[in-house]
Symmetry: C2
Subunit: 359 residues, 2 copies
């Protein structure tokens, strides 16, 4: 069991599962030697309200990368970057990624441009231009809906603007593989999605019942091949889900898989899959199963540990919020057989979106 | 699969497997939720010659522990502490361990007093008195031969001084469980060891062929029950082995195991085992199998990656040493099924040492 090396650069928390704590163990379970550079060392994630520790500044990150380089240890075949606290620190990561890419054109770099969610930035705005300048280094990016809008300056409100945003990423920023996750299933999107395999119950569902994921691969420079997938929405706030998802995408991305026909034709016309859509199907399957396991556990907790979000009540008793967060930490340890693929779970499959680019 | 929580406080390196990198993944594989506090964040271990990064000072460690405490997150059932860079930082760990112990008398605390090896200290001497003062907090300690001598001020040269050192740890420092590892099989030791199950080849072996491990358990306050085990020595320097071993001991220590008769009688007279000797047998078995896997891999590397230790040649070409170190990093990822116990390996069993305390 050996899948080579991956360098993971993201946050570390002592308690709970976000950033590296959500990504590293699953990657190790899948046979990757993971080199782990921590961008912050915190007690727990910020959703708890009370948190702290230290941040690695640009100088510290550069020093660690430089020592690894001098020691001939900066030679992983894959790179995964997530939350980076500042534009300066991000620039240090960019410098390292540029070197890795130059030394190895086959490097598989999954860049998760962690900016925010649902209209809210949760990083310093100075990281945005640095992320934009890093996009051409990436093999795959995994922005959520909001992050796509920030990176492309395109507000996505219909199929035309969705196409436009993908075009900006593929053509202007030279990203070969884009995965947009956590997309609310708005009526306009539902109307254009390929729906041949939807059940009648799904057909009748409202836009609150599903989250969509869209992948677009144009390895080789041809017009991109687009896939879409959906997972049932599990209400409430869970942390680290995106970090786990990105780790699973980079872990399962295998561009040299024999049934992927050639570099210039990303689509396997028999299976209807691309290397990207396969990886995303595996990532959706495992991430959603883990989320369901976590939600089932959270629902079964005593009432005081699953109190609903209520800012006023939280204000009065700080640890009300803490207990809610604690009960919703990902059950990665208990669900490790899901990650390993030895426990059967419901498969979530990305479907080819025929005619996505047709006017 | 759920074994509860363990708080691990030790070093972190980006590349390779020492400290937390050697302990956390194996603990997670065995079903533990691991809370991970990093005492240093380094590029790689110091054996590479070139290394660096940042150290958490006492204030940073105290702040993280305090935030965890306020957030009701400092409630693990087990605690594992390893390399701590300074006396001040260690004092911060002591304060936290004291609180955990006070809040939970059943806490299982494995304290690995990382001081040095083979007559050489590799920490600041100011940690020694702090470690001594922490010994009464521990459930289990895992010093090597040299560390026992430093902690007890007893030079171990015969069975009488071996008894005396154990007495100091049990009676003066109130440690219920002591595991002494990496003991060279000197002639005087071989002469007194219980040897009923030694093969003729083992009988004829020299003192360079085996490393001994001695465990001594006096749960409940009775005279301690002593066990001894041996593993074939694998020549050459491997890092992180002690960190993996300690993690495996704390993971497999189960004082409430039904066949351990009672708290005041640590010895199961049917099996000849104590809760401690069982844990140490499992830890020896898995650690030695992992070391063998690593050594087999290292031996099969191209010649330039397995050059012998040669300080002069290393001096001339720094990365000669680096390449040797890199080829000897533990194969934890490739050997994860050994940790999980699903891959059959040679069992290493601790044997009851009848009459150890007899004059």
């Amino acid at each position: 069991m050996s899948n080579g090396r991956i360098l993971s650069v993201q946050s570390h928390v002592a308690f709970g599962y976000v950033g590296g704590k959500a990504a590293v163990f699953p990657l190790q379970c899948l046979g990757y030697d993971v080199d782990v550079v921590n961008t912050v060392n915190f007690s727990n994630h910020s959703g708890y309200g009370r948190f702290g520790g230290s941040k690695a500044d640009a100088a510290e990150l550069s020093r660690i990368f430089s020592l690894m380089e001098q020691n001939e240890l900066l030679r992983s075949e894959r790179l995964l970057t997530g939350y980076i606290p500042s534009g300066e620190a991000l620039a240090a990561v960019k410098e390292m990624a540029t070197k890795l890419r130059k030394a190895n054109p086959e490097l598989i770099y999954l860049l998760d441009p962690v900016l925010g969610d649902s209209g809210q930035l949760y990083v310093a705005p100075d990281v945005i231009p640095v992320y934009r300048s890093m996009l051409p280094l990436a093999t795959i990016i995994t922005p959520n809906w909001f992050e796509v809008e920030v990176l492309t300056d395109v507000k996505i409100v219909n199929i035309a603007t969705l196409r436009q945003a993908l075009k900006v990423l593929h053509e202007q920023h030279n990203v070969p593989n884009v995965v947009m996750s956590s997309i609310p299933l708005k009526p306009w999107l539902k109307a254009v999605l390929p729906s041949r395999s939807w059940t009648p119950a799904e057909e009748a569902s409202s836009d609150d019942d599903f989250l969509m994921c869209i992948s677009s691969s144009r390895d080789g420079g041809v017009t991109s091949v687009v896939h879409a997938g959906r997972v049932p929405l599990i209400p409430g706030y869970f942390s680290g889900v995106g970090d786990l998802f990105s780790a699973m995408v980079v872990a399962h991305y295998n561009p040299t898989s024999p049934s992927i026909l050639s570099d210039t034709k990303p689509l396997d016309t028999v299976s209807g899959e691309t290397a990207l859509s396969r990886a995303v199907s595996a990532a959706l399957t495992k991430t959603h199963a883990m989320l369901k396991l976590t939600n089932d556990y959270a629902q079964a907790l005593p009432e005081d540990q699953r109190l609903p979000t209520d800012d006023e009540a939280d204000e009065k008793e700080t640890n009300r919020r803490v207990r809610r967060m604690k009960g919703r930490e990902l059950r990665l340890i208990q669900g490790q057989d899901i990650i390993r693929g030895v426990q059967a779970v419901t498969e979530r499959k990305m479907e080819l979106w025929h005619g996505f680019w047709a006017a």
